[in-house]
Amino acid sequence: MAEGWFRKRFRPNEIAQQIGVAGDTLWEKCPKCGEIQYSAELLKNLKVCKKCAFHYRLLATERLEMLADNPDEFERWDENLVTINPLEFPQYLEKLDSHRQKTGLSEAVLTGKTEIGGITTAIGITDPYFKMGTMNSVVGERLALCAERASALDIPLIFVSGSGGGARMEEGILSLMQMAKTAAAIGRYRRNTRRICICVLTDPSMGGTLASWASLGDLIFAEPAAMIGFAGQRVSAQVQSAKPPPGYQTSEFQLEHGQVDAVIHRRDLKDSIVNALQWAA
């Protein structure tokens, strides 16, 4: 019956590799527990499975809607920075088009200014559906500019990571250098202001992203069961003989090992952010 529709969208047991944007179809089948829900209902529930609390990945625009008091008043920054192909990497720009269509973004990050809990805040959100949220020249530049504008405006800074691939290989060393650039930008923000910087790690937050800006917040929050870690399991499997423990590189694993301040259900995320913003204001 309706099963055929979402079968095309989700192959069971591929939680880490959702191929479409959740909620596009009438129905969604939870990739974790198999529960079938109306998409409308799922959306109302912030794209969290009502049965098993699986957190679906969000588009950056959806994340913004969830966090901003009034998404319509969002002031978008640096949309005019456009990706080029500096290494002339084969088929790089051609492949970006589908990501643009899927996400409605020009690049893997959305930055700007909005009110959260009545507090004017700079925000940067990387989109897991856009090239896995990987960081290239434009992403690094927008994040750095976001931190600099936040500093100039003397307002808090929130970075939400949905970056599964770290630095984007198609821009080679230029992507790599964005790690240093964003780290320097946050370093300067934290030294020049007394405003708080909060990083929210969502599924997935890996590699060069986690090894730069996503780890440099004053506070680091994570959504439940997000994949968070340095080297992808395929890479580390080649390096090590030991089998990773169950739950390796999840939010809960990182919480247990002291790498995040709190694991917070999506339903409570905005309240927790507002709480922290008010505490630091």
């Binding site: 990706t83 434009v138 080679g172 060393i173 320097a184 090894a211 730069s212 800006w213 790498q259």
Partner: protein
């Protein structure tokens, strides 16, 4: 070796790469010929066979000179046209000098300092106080190790969180006493073991970059071998970034890139081309300031000569940086990284 004195023996390369084989073969011939000339039996043989010994030696000498000229031509030909993948292999060469070789060659009064003061000492990153000419500096660098036992002990130069924590500790120490920091980058990647993940390898690299970006003392980075992604840039933020001629700097190893692109790690050479990983590429892309020439035929053929050119470059930049007021230095360092990357700006 650069220039051989008459009679000096050609050193043999034990670990020749595939494309170095023809050079190694010539080396062997030269070595054989030299052995033959020095053989005391040669004089006896000449006397027995009524040959003129001096003429025989002269003939051999001529042959030797020819071989050496041929060798020079060959080395020149091979090393002036290295592909990115060949450069990667040279950067990983078993005989390539590492951090401690450079320290031994041109750092005086080196005192190694160990440990992160929290958990352990990571031998994949070494560091200590030292003197380079008139400059008292803090030296920090990846160390891959030489023999197998040492390589295992040093985890092949793949640093754990403790390595980056140690590097930050030493940077802070240098800052406190106004001593410049010189780092040598040479790692395939940061350690990705379960233990490193548990102890926060990502955060360790992120912190190290932030601290180095803000450190109130000059920092010079020298990429001497492999600049492997996050593992490299974790001690790679500074006022000057220099790269040896045949070193590489990449966001991902070519094998890994080939795996992702074509599910075929053996197409690493193609991936190396696409990734633009050579020192010359990095210079062109504005990510490094200077490419330091290596000894003729690569650093591994003449450690002393290569070390001298590294020393010259480092000293020159140190002389320059110590005169810059610290606020200006920090502004310039920040701007340096802010400018990195390439994009277009559309009119709004």
């Amino acid at each position: 070796m650069g220039r051989l004195k008459p009679g000096e023996k050609q050193p043999m390369l034990k670990n020749a790469l595939d494309f170095e084989r023809p050079i190694a073969d010539l080396d062997q011939q030269i070595l054989d010929l030299q052995g033959h000339m020095e053989n005391p039996g040669l004089r006896e043989w000449c006397e027995e066979h009524n040959q003129d010994y001096a003429a025989e030696i002269a003939k051999l000498k001529k042959g030797l000179a020819e071989l050496q000229r041929a060798r020079k031509r060959l080395v020149d030909e091979v090393f002036s046209n290295l592909s990115p993948w060949e450069k990667t292999q040279v950067a990983r060469h078993k005989d390539r000098p590492h951090t401690l070789d450079y320290v031994r060659e041109f750092c005086d009064d080196f005192l190694e300092l160990h440990g992160d003061r929290v958990y352990s000492d990571d031998p994949a990153i070494v560091g200590g106080i030292a003197r380079i000419g008139d400059h008292r500096v803090m030296v920090i660098g990846h160390e891959k190790g030489r023999d197998l036992k040492e390589k295992v002990r040093r985890n092949y130069g793949s640093a754990k969180p403790e390595g980056y924590h140690k590097a930050v500790r030493l940077c802070k120490l240098a800052e406190r006493f106004g001593r410049p920091v010189v780092t040598f980058v040479d790692t395939s990647a940061a350690d990705s073991s379960i233990g490193s993940e548990e102890r926060g390898i990502s955060a360790a690299i992120a912190w190290a970059m932030e601290e180095m970006a803000m450190l109130k003392t000059p920092i010079i980075i020298v990429v001497v071998g492999e600049g492997g992604s996050g593992g490299a840039i974790g001690i790679g933020v500074g006022d000057r970034i220099l790269m040896l001629e045949h070193s590489v700097y990449s966001v991902i190893p070519p094998e890994g890139c080939a795996n992702i692109l074509w599910r075929d790690g053996s197409r690493a050479a193609e991936a190396a081309d696409a990734l633009k990983i050579t020192a010359q590429d990095a210079l062109r892309l504005g990510c490094v300031d200077e490419v330091i020439p290596e000894a003729f035929g690569g650093a591994h053929r003449n450690v002393q000569e290569t070390a001298r050119s590294v020393q010259e470059a480092v000293t020159r930049h140190l002389d320059d940086l110590v005169t810059v007021p610290i606020d200006t230095l920090l502004e310039q360092r920040y701007d340096k990284f802010r400018r990195m990357g390439r994009w277009d700006v559309e009119p709004e």
